[in-house]
Subunit: 156 residues, 2 copies
């Protein structure tokens, strides 16, 4: 059982931060290919990827987008947040085995419960791999949720 | 075996379109929760979702982002494309069973192989659920790839 408490609009402050870390595993690339439908060989075929400018397999760019969305939905502001928009700039490739850190920061509190967040992703060498901003509708009320179990998924 | 031919920069024309259709299944929501780490009950718990403003379970917003990225990577311009950036506006909720159509359109050919694409997603009622734009580096050369098999994934 995992309890998660959100941060309602009134308790959000400009400069407030949250982060989420995740190492990119084989399983992640396989799952992202399956759910998105993007089975490009640069993601799935090591021999093919070795001949590209990346020299090795890379994660799907939008996998980082998925991590950003999870960080927003689970941590800042957390459950009850409504995702209004997201800008993403993919600045460097993400490789199998990279450890990504999603960093969120409250940039601005807008009228009607809306909030602008910085959404940056770094790799284990402190190189930025994604830059961007999100706009969300923050929850009005503080709420502690018992999060459902993660779905059981088997690859292969 | 699926052969996919990309559309290199020189062959892209403003106004050129491509689309991709996908019905949102239980499996998609479970997989997206697993790969993103977002296990919010609004996506996974029907009883909880019934009490929200959405009245029923909704798909993760970034699932539509994943479909857009797949449409770009597999269809327009297709394999060899490098994803530089994406803007997304989530304009309506996506529900289990909705049939989404991702519509891509070449908006502008920029210098140095870059291309600006409209990335719009509609549901089966022709209601727009996502609006946005992508910027990509189009492939230089036409290439026909034998796409790898989709990863085998079992849910539950």
């Amino acid at each position: 059982m995992t309890l998660v408490t959100n941060i309602p609009y009134d308790n959000l402050e400009v400069g407030q931060q949250a982060s989420l870390e995740r190492t990119v595993e084989e399983r992640d690339i396989q799952l992202f290919a399956a759910v998105s439908g993007d089975n490009n060989p640069v993601h799935l075929d090591a021999a093919f990827a070795a001949e590209t400018m990346f020299k090795e397999r890379i994660a799907h760019g939008m996998f980082s987008g998925a991590l950003i969305s999870a960080a927003i939905a689970c941590r800042l502001p957390g459950p009850g947040t409504i995702y209004l928009g997201q800008q993403l700039k993919f600045t460097r490739p993400v490789k199998l085995g990279d450890t990504l850190t999603v960093q969120l920061e409250v940039l601005e509190k807008l009228p009607k419960g809306r909030v602008r967040l910085a959404t940056r992703v770094f790799n284990q060498n402190q190189e930025q791999v994604v830059d961007g901003e999100a706009e969300v509708l923050a929850p009005r009320a503080e709420q502690t949720l018992n999060m459902p179990e993660m779905p059981m998924v088997t690859v292969g």
